[in-house]
Symmetry: C2
Subunit: 230 residues, 2 copies
DNA sequence: GAGGCTAGTGACAGCCACTGACAGTTGACA
DNA sequence: TGTCAACTGTCAGTGGCTGTCACTAGCCTC
């Protein structure tokens, strides 16, 4: 079986059948590993914490760690996966008439508005936010993050294409909007993490400001003296 | 010393002082390793070829491989680095009046026009092109490729900002254009490599077509029935 | 052109991420 | 309560990568 699978199957209608002891224990172990991993990663760096360190902190064997997480990297991005899934759901739920770029913007605002508490149930939100700085400054993690981001983009491009009744492989526009949107997000992520203020609010504001700059940036004429931002 | 360093220091004015025996031998070893690596990677896959395999193919020790390349990954991207450096140079050399996006487009066309022969001196061009499909289909390599791409983007953003007399950290536009440009390139790279035709020409045409779609993709209205492309 | 210097190399030992195999333990359920 | 299956620990092994050390072979000086 796959302990690291989806937290909850999508179509659960009943109030939650109270998992058995075994299930709860597993969950506790996984959460403990997750939390220990993130704490060690942010405290002493990703490369400098070994999987053995994490396992030891939770008092399980290294082998057990790898039964919960396919890799050290997977543990690092476990929480981020939650947020991404929310975002995709939000895009799917957007009203059909809305222009694509606007739908993406709104989905982002929406999912960021509600993701905090979901994360908090797993690990302290502040820890998760600080961990982004570790991602951004660790080559191996940054690489993994970018790869995951492109996978996410492909998924979203398909959603957008479906909304608009287009074929992703025949019409370039879905992939292009999503790619542009993603590119701006990554630029803001980097700048945001480079500054000290690792809060969701700061990231949200910065992203909004940068998205507003896409059109001005693409026009040939930059002489219009647009006001630079803080 | 660093055998994998720049092929030729920029400011070489003399006709080339004929390197000693030692230097030539080193160069030959490095090129042999490079070629063997790329051949093995494309033949049986990146993950399935060990560094020992590569070293054995050239009849040196594994330790020696790591004296030429800091990592297996570095060997994989050695040739790509050449192409990137050319591109950056091309951007720097663009006439100052040109709009940023246009400068990037032209630089791309220019560098792709001349990079072929430079690569051919190191490894067969066709091998290099086929290797892109390996990159695209190997998670570890794709991740590394994306990270390298963002580093390149940062460098180019600074060049663009300087051209326009702006401060990269105060004005978002340089980073945004470059990010958008890079995003489109990556989308086309992926589509191009997914199709069979691994030629520079095919990539160039596809990129041009996709760049033309940026503006249409960003406008809210997609009803204009733009012609999808082949 | 003999001898010393040192860059380049091979051999070896060791770290860390990760995997397969096997056996012991413990919830779940009849 | 006993059986089964899930979960876990232990152990051995692979591959990427690094440090160390001794040795060989270009290079340079006298």
């Amino acid at each position: 079986m796959r302990p690291a699978g989806a937290v909850n199957p999508a179509g659960a209608t009943h109030p939650a059948p109270r998992p058995g002891l075994r299930e709860r224990k597993k969950r506790r172990t996984r959460d403990a590993l997750l939390r220990a991993a993130l704490e060690l990663f942010t405290a002493r760096g990703y490369e400098r914490t070994t999987v053995d360190d994490i396992a030891e902190a939770v008092d399980v064997s290294q082998r057990t760690f790898f039964r919960y997480f396919a890799s050290k990297e997977e543990a690092a991005f476990f929480v981020a996966r939650l947020a991404e899934a929310r975002f995709v759901d939000a895009v799917r739920a957007r009203p059909p008439g809305e222009p694509p770029l606007e739908a993406l913007r709104q989905s982002l605002a929406e999912s960021w508005g509600s993701i905090g508490e979901a994360i908090e149930q797993l690990v302290p939100l502040e820890l998760h936010m600080r961990f982004y700085q570790v991602i951004e400054t660790t080559p191996a993690l940054l690489a993994a993050h970018l790869r995951r981001a492109t996978e996410l983009e492909e998924e979203i491009a398909r959603v957008i294409a479906e909304r608009e009744g287009l074929d992703v492989d025949a019409d370039p526009r879905p992939r292009v909007v999503v790619a542009v949107f993603g590119a701006v997000m990554r630029v803001t992520e980097r700048i945001w993490s480079a500054r000290g203020e690792a809060t969701l609010g700061a990231l949200r504001d910065l992203t909004a400001a940068y998205l507003d700059q896409v059109e001005p940036a693409l026009t040939g004429d930059w002489r219009g003296d647009r006001p630079p931002l803080a």
